[in-house]
């Protein structure tokens, strides 16, 4: 009995090969896998069906919170706590609230975007098993990797490895935990 592994990883030399491999992996029915590239590849996200995540919703909610907060902040100050008559203008002068409402919408939306991204990616992450493969360092240079994880119900050490071998992979290796 060999020690359990994190997954099986394949190395590709071109982004095209990786995208084709990702498509094949999805077609085969694997769910728990990830791809690693030195630069963003739009087609890869399409191939992995990664476009629909929760981030837009988080940003939208952040924006709505920011807008509401910004508006109410000004409303409470100028109408309820310090109702001062300035040159006969109505206390609830909504047009002059808009700028700060807008700015706070942007502020909280962008903070939610950054925070949401970190949370969804599980960052900060000081350890990741993929780095146990020495060649994986090249993922930040000129190589493209795809790793099928052992938590996938279809995962089988030998068969998954053979499957990846069949996909124009330059090298296939097991990833230790």
């Amino acid at each position: 009995m060999k020690a359990p592994v994190y997954g099986v990883m394949a190395e590709f030399e071109t982004p095209g090969a990786l995208v084709r491999a990702a498509k094949a992996t999805v077609a085969k029915g694997y769910k728990k896998f990830d791809a690693y590239t030195p630069f963003p590849i739009e087609e890869l996200s399409d191939a992995m069906h990664l476009h629909h995540n929760k981030l837009p919703l988080i940003v939208l909610l952040g924006g709505i919170c920011g807008g509401t907060l910004g508006y109410l902040l000004q409303y409470f100050i100028t109408v309820i706590y310090y109702p001062i008559n300035i040159a006969g203008r109505p206390l609830h002068s909504w047009p002059s609230y808009i700028i700060i409402t807008f700015e706070l919408t942007i502020l909280l939306a962008s903070i939610s975007a950054v925070g949401g991204l970190f949370a969804l990616c599980g960052l900060p992450m000081p350890y990741h098993p993929t780095f146990n493969v020495p060649r994986f360092a090249m993922a930040s240079n000129d190589r493209f990797f795809l790793c099928i994880e052992s938590t996938d119900p279809l995962f089988d050490r030998t068969k998954t490895g053979e499957f990846l071998e069949s996909l124009e992979a330059k090298e296939v290796s097991e990833v230790a935990h």
Binding site: P15, G16, R20, E43, H51, R89, P95, I98, I99
Partner: protein
């Protein structure tokens, strides 16, 4: 890639469809413009000139807006710029019609601009101070300069773009070198002409946002129009092979940005006037927020901003050809409404919609489209020697 062997010339089926579209546009254009001209005698010159002016401002945006996009893409590069080059050039070559349509405004200036009347100027001290700038001679010379500058830029960009196709290596330098200065010229020209042709209908009123509002509006008009054209061309070869959702996505992002810029400028102008509350500034909004004009303004808040903004936030929608095209078309309709709301109340205290407010914009746009469809058939649909062509073809495809 097999794409390199694509023939970019206008295919026969597209040529036939463009010709039939041109015939229809021409028929609508001739009938609309003829009816509007007849209206000058049937209804009266005031109605006629006001309808003509605001419709003209729309057509001007359709002509010089694409010039702005052309220069912008030469200055910045990007795949989105290569695919819109030919439609944008075709749109800019309609400048001759745009100059022709300006003639009624030149002839009817005394119907449109109160400062052309000596008695009015004498009775308004503030206007008297502006008389050195706002007089018919200076105004006409300036109009000539604005249009002449556009003609020079448009001739330059069309000439060198054609030479680049035929393999002239000097073309790229000529095209990119003038992009920066050309954009500065366009920004200044549109700012001044918006003051001369639109704002001076009330020579006592002023807003420093006005020019920026027109620049943004013209770019928005142009990008919305180019989206509708690209989606139409996408049904035919060679654009069927060239155009990807990613190109459309980029143009959709520009549309979203400009919808927001339009709202930002429109609202800033309002906020400054509202907060300042000065007697010489507020009449503009007092009239436009009451007397029936207020409903048109409310329509703009929802139709020109809230609705397109909310829809265009969606990524899937920006990549859906038909939906994006429909939104772009809706924005074009809203551009009409915005120009109507900005300029028409200068002359009418209460809401006033003449039948010429329908025939003038429809007729003028019809004539313009007929000219555009003619121009679009003249050149290959993609610039074959554009240095970014390869990148453009790969944009949104597998590497």
């Amino acid at each position: 890639m097999t794409l390199e062997r694509i023939d970019y010339s206008v295919p026969v089926d597209l040529k036939q469809d463009l010709s039939s579209l041109r015939t229809r546009a021409l028929a609508v254009g001739v009938i609309g413009v003829a009816a509007t001209l007849a209206g000058m005698f049937v209804v009266g010159p005031t109605d006629f000139y006001r309808s003509w002016l605001w419709s003209y401002l729309f057509v001007l945006g359709l002509t010089v807006g694409p010039l702005g996009w052309l220069m912008l893409q030469y200055a910045t590069g990007g795949a989105w710029g290569v695919v819109i080059r030919r439609p944008a050039e075709a749109a800019s070559r309609t400048i001759w019609l745009t100059i022709l349509l300006f003639i009624p405004i030149l002839v009817g200036a005394n119907n449109l601009y109160p400062w052309t009347h000596a008695a009015y100027v004498q009775s308004h001290p503030t206007v008297l101070h502006k008389a050195a700038y706002l007089n018919i001679t200076a105004w006409s010379i300036r109009a000539f300069i604005y249009l002449f500058g556009f003609v020079l830029l448009i001739l330059h960009y069309n000439k060198w773009s054609a030479r680049e196709d035929s393999g002239d290596t000097r073309a790229r330098g000529k095209l990119t070198f003038f992009a920066g200065p050309g954009l500065i010229y366009q920004a200044l020209a549109v700012t001044f002409l918006s003051v001369d042709w639109a704002m001076s209908q009330d020579p006592t009123w002023f807003s420093t946002m006005w020019g920026l509002l027109f620049i943004a509006s013209q770019l928005l008009t142009a990008v919305a129009f180019l989206i509708t054209v690209m989606v139409m061309l996408q049904r035919y070869s060679p654009m069927r092979e060239v155009l990807t959702a990613r190109h459309l996505h980029d143009l959709g992002k520009f549309t979203l940005a400009l919808v927001m810029v339009w709202a930002y400028f429109s609202f800033s102008q309002f906020l400054i006037v509202w907060a300042g509350n000065l007697p010489e500034e507020i009449p503009f909004y007092l009239r436009r927020m009451n007397h029936g004009w207020g409903w048109v303004g409310l329509l703009l808040v929802f139709g020109h901003f809230a609705l397109p903004f909310a829809l265009l936030l969606s990524r899937d929608l920006k990549r859906n050809y038909k939906l994006l095209r429909n939104i772009a078309f809706f924005i074009l309709v809203m551009r009409f409404v915005d120009l109507f709301w900005l300029t028409k109340p200068f002359a009418y205290e209460n809401f006033h919609l003449s039948w010429m407010d329908i025939t003038a914009p429809v007729g003028m746009t019809g004539l313009w489209l007929a000219y555009f469809f003619t121009n679009l058939q003249q050149r290959p649909l993609m610039p074959v020697n554009d240095p970014n062509l390869e990148e453009t073809l790969e944009h949104g495809r597998e590497h």
